[in-house]
């Protein structure tokens, strides 16, 4: 293409079909000369920028669109013109550089098009032939893709949320507990902090179901899970249903004294619920037993060993008469009442 054909603009010296092709191209095309002045813009661009070619032609593109000044677009454009290498501005990093709006929409932010921009300067041989380096800016409207990806991400987030929730109690499920345990044990050993683990079990739960029916059993578990969640409310505390009527709590940065205090509070608040349970050895209400185990950085515990110790402490509490807290003493390797 000769220099005249390019600089002559669309009005003269260009075949009719080329004008027609450019008018029907479904993306924005803007041609700049070596001084970044607008030589041409196609119909797609003009209708979305809501400007006339007449008002752009011959003006520095940064004067036509002052919002582009001082931003990434300006830097990338000048770098491209200087180096002769094509560049791109991605939508994710620069959502809407040009003030382009959906043709049938207003000028509000909601109808601002999400853009993917290619800046293609002429290479050395075309520049030599044209007498100067022209640069083509090509803009695609990626709004539909962005909307689709957003929807996908939101659904993925919701799904991963559901995958981790216990359907009955609304606290974390076993899978969530297993994954969190691995991550928290690693974090505690890296950070040299202690990690508390509570295992709790509803006393005489089988009898409760036999006496009051399974719907009441479900309601009881929900209420106890609610107590556990209300007590373990620090930002990094994690609570989950381990299985059946067993619940767990992971307490990061919590020592033995703190973990025992949390366990006692959960037991007390569960008694305070006052859920009738005549089959609970004369206590009259639903109670819990708890096993506590605290891992520290220098004991190098695995998730499995912490769980097994908390479980031993829980069974010791059950065997000692229920409705109480036992803690696993690591130095003596035995569960002791607290």
């Amino acid at each position: 293409m000769s220099a005249e054909a390019i600089t002559g603009g669309i009005a003269s010296g260009v075949p009719v079909w080329l004008d027609w092709v450019l008018s029907n191209t479904p993306s924005g095309l803007v041609l700049l000369d070596a001084q970044a002045r607008v030589v041409f813009a196609n119909k797609w661009f003009l209708s979305r920028a809501k400007v006339r070619l007449l008002d752009m032609s011959g003006h520095d593109v940064l004067d036509v669109f002052p919002v582009l000044r001082g931003g990434h677009f300006e830097r990338v454009l000048h770098r491209a013109i200087r180096s002769g290498f094509p560049a791109l501005l991605s939508q994710t990093l620069h959502p809407s550089p040009f003030p382009l709006y959906a043709p049938n929409g207003g000028r509000g932010n909601e109808s601002l098009l999400k853009q993917s921009i290619h800046i293609v300067p002429m290479g050395p041989s075309d520049t030599a032939e044209a007498g100067q380096r022209f640069t083509l800016i090509q803009i695609s409207d990626v709004s539909p893709t962005v909307a689709r990806e957003r929807l996908l991400k939101a659904q993925a987030d919701r799904m991963s949320g559901l995958v981790n929730v216990d359907a009955l109690t609304g606290i974390g499920n076993r899978r969530f507990f297993d994954e969190s345990m691995v991550a928290e044990v690693r974090a505690a050993s890296r950070g040299g902090s202690s990690l508390g683990l509570l295992m709790l079990d509803v006393d005489q739960f089988k009898q409760f179901n036999d006496l009051y029916g399974h719907p009441a059993g479900d309601a009881c578990l929900k209420a106890v899970a609610g107590v556990l969640r209300s007590v373990c409310r620090r930002p990094r505390d994690l609570v989950a249903r381990y299985g059946g009527e067993e619940l767990v709590a992971i307490l990061p940065d919590t020592d033995e004294v703190g973990s025992i205090r949390v366990a006692r509070e959960v037991l007390q608040k569960t008694r305070d619920l006052g859920i009738e349970h005549t089959g609970n050895f004369g206590r009259g209400v639903v109670t819990l037993s708890a096993g506590v185990c605290v891992g520290s950085a220098h004991t190098q515990d695995s998730p499995a060993s912490l769980i097994s110790r908390a479980d031993q402490a829980l069974y010791a509490a059950k065997n000692a008469g229920r409705d109480r807290v036992f803690c696993f003493d690591i130095s003596r390797q035995v569960a002791v009442p607290v």
Binding site: H72, R75, G84, F85, L88, S90, Q91, P124, T145, L152
Partner: protein
């Protein structure tokens, strides 16, 4: 191609200049400091590069490809192990962690990061060795490192390989930049480097 130690030193200087420029541009883009360094420049076979990737358990890569042509023709490939590409995009974009694989829009942002780096490095080569290049737009490719580099042909030919370290928000990420050159272009590059070294003397 077999470059002398002196030739590799000269290239290291040229590449470090380009990578330094890219670091500044990426810092502007990310809104925080991005440091880039080139700890290693080597001539390696495609086989050796894929072996290195395999040894790191990262044979699947996400790559940004750009072609440069002129008296020297080369395909420049910036390759990241997939997990590193996810982290890089997350750090640059600064939002939630991406899905298991980069989405179309996230791939485009990786293309932008790669484009800045490749253009800076090749600009530096063009300026210092006085070579004119035409460049293409970047393209993102996912696949096995060997396939992306076009293994099958010349698996044992030496290609120019740079290890590139990214340091963003106190995290370290590692990528490989390789230049695939045909025989004529390799010879031309050697010649240009020799001229450059002479002009420095």
């Amino acid at each position: 191609m077999k470059l002398s130690a002196l030739g590799l030193d000269a290239l290291a200087e040229i590449f470090n200049h380009g990578v330094g420029q890219a670091g500044l541009a990426l810092s502007e883009l990310a809104g925080e400091e991005v440091q880039l360094s080139v700890p290693k420049i080597e001539e390696l076979s495609k086989r050796a590069i894929t072996d290195q990737m395999d040894a790191r358990g990262a044979n699947r890569v996400c790559a940004v490809r750009q072609g440069f042509s002129g008296v020297i023709n080369t395909e420049a490939l910036l390759m990241f192990p997939v997990d590193q590409s996810l982290q890089l995009v997350q750090l640059m974009v600064g939002n939630e962690f991406p899905l298991e694989q980069l989405s179309e829009m996230e791939q485009e942002s990786l293309a932008e990061v790669g484009n800045i780096l490749l253009n800076s490095v090749v600009s530096s080569v063009a300026d210092m060795l006085h070579i004119e290049f035409e460049g293409t737009l970047p393209q993102v490719e996912l696949g096995l490192a060997g396939d992306v580099m076009g293994a099958g042909e010349g698996l044992d030919d030496l290609i120019l390989s740079l290890q590139i370290n990214f340091s963003i928000a106190s995290r370290q990420l590692q990528g490989y930049l390789v230049f695939l050159l045909d025989v004529a272009s390799s010879e031309m590059l050697e010649k240009k480097i020799a001229t450059f070294i002479e002009s420095m003397a």
